[in-house]
């Protein structure tokens, strides 16, 4: 039995400890927003936050998650509200097929958490770990920078 925190709730699973976190979240806890793309940590479609760091959940054994706090796309924002990155994604009509976007958004949100003012180059370098087969890169970059501006505007106003 492995216990960890999933989107603020304590959860327990009997999945074997070598089961990747992705499949535990998707199939045991039925949160389908995180996606399977490569199974090898190469594409980023499965990106979640573990204790605030973005991780490739398809290569993180759930045994390593015991006692940690995991956030998925479903838990990124409070009930009914949107994270500034999600709001920027919608405003820029970023998604095409959308399959990679949960992972893109989780990577971007973790970046802004540790670096609220990334340069365009830092955005490109960080987001380079997340593949988008539809080629939404120009809009992903624009949306991350728009989220930076929006967050700064809110902070200046308050």
């Amino acid at each position: 039995m492995i216990t960890f925190e999933l989107n603020g709730q304590t959860v327990m699973t009997e999945d074997p400890p070598d089961t990747p976190l992705l499949w535990v979240v998707r199939d045991t806890f039925k949160l389908k927003g995180s996606k399977f793309g490569c199974g090898a940590g190469l594409c980023g479609a499965c990106t979640m936050h573990m204790d605030g760091q973005s991780v490739r959940s398809c290569v993180v054994p759930v045994g390593n998650v015991a006692g940690k706090a995991v956030t998925t796309i479903e838990g990124l924002s409070d009930n009914g509200s949107l994270h500034p990155v999600q709001a920027a994604w919608i405003a820029n009509s970023v998604p095409q097929c959308g399959y990679c976007q949960s992972g893109q958004i989780m990577t971007a949100a973790a970046l802004l958490e540790r670096n609220p003012n990334p340069s365009p180059g830092e955005v490109e370098d960080t987001m380079a770990g997340n593949l988008c087969r539809c080629g939404c890169y120009p809009r992903i970059k624009a949306a991350v920078l728009a989220a930076v501006d929006a967050t700064n505007a809110v902070e200046e106003a308050s």
């Binding site: 999933l6 919608i90 998604p95 095409q96 097929c97 959308g98 997340n130 988008c132 080629g135």
Partner: protein, 733 residues
């Protein structure tokens, strides 16, 4: 903890059965009027394009599959424009199989491809919306006892005498009336949504993780299956050791099916670990000693020694290639490619009492239906298909092999089966973009007129390969299976050796005046599965054609853009996009980082020209910026068009800079994104899109931005380095 998103289908089912709303059945022109399928229990009415709830909510059934190209936004815009409902208000759902959902511009088939959605539905979808609005007004006239002509409408409300009535107020009466036909439609001057940057209606659910893809279907009781397939194309199972695999944790069954061996387990991970341990003896098919070097040698020999079939001939080539003309001859190579949509192939199939139900994401539910019917030897009517958002299509999801595999496993084990392909399965068992070797020969006279053009392509044909999947879809049910099987077999073997698929040579001699020209094709088919890959033949012919145009211009010391303008007099719209791009190129020349390259190519009834700004650092090719000019007729949603040009350019750059599949021992060498890399964020160029303001009927945008990018980059590399690269991916040897 439960799934946080509400199933869109259960939402719809609730509306359809208990909601008391209006379900409007609409038959598109040319469609049959058969009753909606009711098998096994209809939880929604598939002959409906629209449901209006008592709360005045609008559920739009999107006839085309949404794989990212924005078709749900596009069709909702067409329908909403004439219905007079803001498309942003639509709840969008995707239907199962029904002939009402065919695309008139796609041979009437219920499938999504060929960049044909706006072209096929521009008038029918608007007409359907106009007819429903007219029905609502007729009902309002009766309910309110007011003349119909006194009404106007505003965003789902009937307005009369300063009062607003939701459309839903009139659904009880509307249900008793016949749907009007040929109701008048708006003039373009009256459009409120068409031509505007209407926000994508799927952006929110695709930014919150709520959007449901095929891989997200979670059917109670389902078991997970993974498969091992032959490492050599065409191989079959000789033997395998079952017992120790069946003893592994969670493993339920190990079964042989037509494509290989499947392991069924309680969880994906248990199935994965067991499949990795599975030892299979395969036979040794003919391709077992086949490598990329054999492929290249066979193609080269065919190019040099065989004349092939003439697929296009015009004018008199004896008038060309004279001593006074400048002449060139160049060979171009393009490799096999996998589609690699980010959502790997997957399907859930339930088989029970001689009937089947499928949950998947596919470019055409009938392909899934027909594949399962054939795999299980049951009638198509006994197979019900549920579709969802596609995590990328690009042509890959026109093929339903994986759905048939899941059906076979379900039938063999008696379980509801969720089959998931790994990324390795996807790269190595694709239906590949065919490899091509092309010889372009051209001559230009002293006036800059291209007076001779011959193009010869060596490679496989897609269509005979794909008839295996397509024939059962289009064949009437009364054709006995035995006959169908023999026709399919004929397509698979006999036809592939003599028939030239139009897509094999499309674009090789297109766009230009070319008064004297010949296109030849030599079919060399080694038996790898072939499929339609975004922009199909144009994905390689544009590279050969537009590179050759520049080689010819360089040989004749003519500006390559000038040569294009001089030789597109008979093709006004292509001529125009070249002209517009050439004007913008002058400004780019002052701002450029590296060197500029030009290419233009028309496809899918649209016209595109591109300029690439490219730098070369050692062996590294850096694409700094791309300008794209597109004429796709009347723009329905300019922002979606821009997104499709951006995306197609990135997709094309993956092919231009990275895409390569090697064959060794009769199988694909590459296996995942480490050795089959896709373009990444840090490699992407800035993209500027200019959309021609046209009043022609709308045409395709999903594929047309792709073909010109590889030659534009190759032409820029020549300008930057003086080296002419003639193979994809572009590499310095």
């Amino acid at each position: 903890m439960t799934l946080q998103h509400v199933s869109r289908r259960s939402f719809l089912a609730g509306l359809g059965i208990t909601g008391g709303g209006l379900v409007v059945g609409l038959t598109l022109p040319g469609c049959s009027s058969e009753a909606p399928p009711s098998f096994p229990t209809a939880d929604f009415s598939p002959d409906a394009f629209l449901q209006i709830t008592p709360q005045n909510e609008f559920v739009f059934i999107c006839a085309r599959d949404e794989m990212g190209q924005g078709v749900s936004s596009g069709l909702a815009t067409l329908f909403g424009e004439e219905l007079d409902v803001d498309p942003a208000r639509f709840e969008v759902n995707f239907p199962g199989v029904h002939s009402a959902y065919g695309n008139p511009a796609f041979s009437g088939i219920q499938s999504t491809g060929g960049s044909a959605a706006m072209r096929g539905h521009y008038l029918p979808a608007r007409q359907a919306g106009a007819n429903v609005r007219s029905l609502i007004l007729e009902a309002a006239a009766r309910d309110l006892n007011v003349e119909k002509s006194k009404f106007s409408t505003v965003d789902g409300n009937v307005v009369v005498g300063g009062e607003r009535y939701p459309y839903a107020s009139f659904i009880a009466t509307a249900q008793t009336l016949p749907i009007p036909e040929q109701s008048p439609m708006k003039t373009p001057g009256e459009f409120r949504y068409i031509g505007q940057d209407v926000p994508r209606i799927d952006a929110a659910e695709k930014s919150t993780g709520e959007a449901v893809y095929g891989i997200d279907f979670d059917i109670p009781g389902m078991k997970y299956a993974l498969m091992k397939r032959s490492p050599v194309f065409g191989g079959s199972v000789q033997s395998f050791v079952k017992d120790e695999i069946e003893r592994m944790p969670g493993v339920i069954d190990v079964v042989q099916i037509s494509n290989g061996v499947a392991v069924v387990a309680e969880t994906f991970w248990q199935a994965k670990k067991a499949t990795d341990q599975l030892q299979i003896e395969w036979d040794t098919p003919a391709l077992a000693k086949f490598d990329t070097s054999d492929l290249r040698a066979d193609y080269q020999q065919a190019l040099d020694e065989e004349s092939g079939s003439t697929t296009d001939e015009e004018g008199d080539l004896t008038l060309a290639f004279r001593n006074v003309d400048t002449q060139i001859e160049v060979d171009f190579w393009t490799p096999y490619l996998a589609h690699a949509p980010l959502e790997p192939m997957n399907a859930v199939v339930k088989v029970e009492n001689g009937e089947a139900e499928v949950w998947t994401s596919i470019q055409g539910p009938p392909f899934a239906q027909a594949s399962v019917a054939r795999a299980l030897n049951i009638d198509k009517a006994k197979v019900r298909v549920n579709n969802a958002y596609l995590g990328g299509g690009f042509g890959r999801r026109l093929i339903a092999t994986h759905v048939a595999e899941a059906a076979e496993i379900a039938a063999a084990t008696g379980h509801i089966i969720k089959l998931i392909w790994t990324r390795e399965d996807d790269i190595q068992n694709g239906v590949f973009r065919p490899a091509s070797l092309m010889r372009m020969k051209a001559s230009v006279d002293n006036d800059g007129i291209i007076n001779g053009w011959t193009a010869k392509r060596v490679g496989g044909n897609i269509l005979p390969d794909r008839m295996v999947g397509a024939l059962p879809v289009v064949a009437p049910d009364f054709v006995p299976d035995g006959v169908l099987n023999s026709v399919v077999g004929l397509a698979d073997t006999t036809l592939s050796n003599w028939m030239v698929d139009g897509s094999s040579v499309e674009g090789l001699a297109g766009d230009y005046d070319f008064p004297n020209r010949v296109t030849e094709h030599v079919t060399v088919n080694h038996g790898l599965p072939l499929g339609y890959w975004r922009s199909v033949g144009h994905s390689y012919t544009a590279f050969a054609k537009e590179s050759a145009i520049n080689v010819l211009a360089e040989a004749a010391s003519i500006d390559p853009v000038e040569l294009r303008l001089k030789n597109t007099r008979s093709n006004a719209r292509q001529h125009n996009v070249i002209n517009v791009a050439a004007e913008r190129m002058k400004a780019m020349d002052a701002e450029k980082v590296g060197s500029l390259g030009f290419a233009s190519h028309g496809s899918f009834h649209s016209y595109v020209a591109q300029v690439a700004d490219v730098s070369v650092h050692g062996a590294d090719i850096v694409v700094n910026k791309v300008l794209c000019v597109v004429d796709c007729g009347r723009p329905i949603n300019p922002d979606v068009i821009r997104a499709q040009m951006e995306g197609a350019i990135m997709f094309g750059l993956t092919a231009a800079l990275h895409g390569d599949l090697d064959i060794a021992g009769g199988g694909i060498v590459q296996s995942n994104f480490h050795d089959y890399p896709l373009l990444r964020m840090n490699e992407h160029p800035e993209v500027e899109v200019i959309i021609i303001d046209s009043e022609e009927d709308p045409t395709g945008v999903g594929e047309v931005g792709l073909p010109p990018i590889a030659p534009a980059v190759a032409n820029a590399i020549f300008a930057e380095t003086g080296q002419r690269l003639t193979s994809l991916p572009l590499r310095f040897s």
